[in-house]
Symmetry: C2
Subunit: 133 residues, 2 copies
């Protein structure tokens, strides 16, 4: 095992970290990412794990890799929404909603979460229904 018990593979966690930075504007188009070995030192991972994340990100057209130079953030021009991707996203959203309903989370609050995720990063503080201890 790597560090702690996670339910998500390490290379996927790294992928989401990079994706989030791209979406939030921390990483700009054309910017160079740390090399595989460098990122491995930064994140405390094995270079192979980082390489696996980079390879997967390139398959999703998030980054572009030039064999001797490095990996760079890629512009997502002409990214047509695949029908299969739509279905997956709707299913994943459905799972979140089912859990949220069980947790007695209102639709309004979910809409606020959605806007928070879509616009910037931070989530608005959770509004408890009349609790204050």
């Amino acid at each position: 095992m790597a560090q702690i018990q996670r339910n998500q593979p390490l290379y996927e966690q790294l992928m989401w970290r990079i994706k989030a930075q791209v979406a939030s504007g921390v990483l700009i188009i054309g910017e160079k990412l740390p090399s595989v070995r460098e990122m491995a030192l930064i994140e405390g991972l094995n270079p192979n794990t980082v390489a696996k994340a980079y390879r997967a990100l390139e398959n999703q057209n998030v980054i572009e890799t030039v064999t001797g130079k490095g990996t760079f953030i890629r512009a997502n021009d002409e990214f047509t929404a695949d029908e299969q991707l739509i279905a997956i996203l709707q299913e994943q959203l459905g799972e979140v909603v089912i859990e949220a309903k069980r947790a007695s989370i209102s639709v309004q609050e979910l809409h606020q979460w959605l806007d928070s995720c879509y616009s910037g990063k931070p989530h608005s503080p959770r509004r408890m229904h009349g609790i204050s201890h």
Copy 2:
């Protein structure tokens, strides 16, 4: 392997199928689920796999199991939203949103998806934004 290549474990798929039926009202509180061995025949799974799903669902207070009688849908009274669960849901929602943004899906459409998931089941047909090449 069981049937086809899935990225989600079989027992989790069964869990979500049951959860969705509970959320949509197909399964009512107190209703009896098929027995472990019966469900195994229906779904084409191993009884152990079904038992694993049932055990996990009981840990989440979705169903109630009486040792000699069977398993029944449970009312989720007094289900307080755990802070950790909130964080997980927000993170999962964030992942969906990041992917949706990359796929050029508008916020409005995501809100429609959310409402569809929350109220009933079927998704409204996907509205293309004026593209016809």
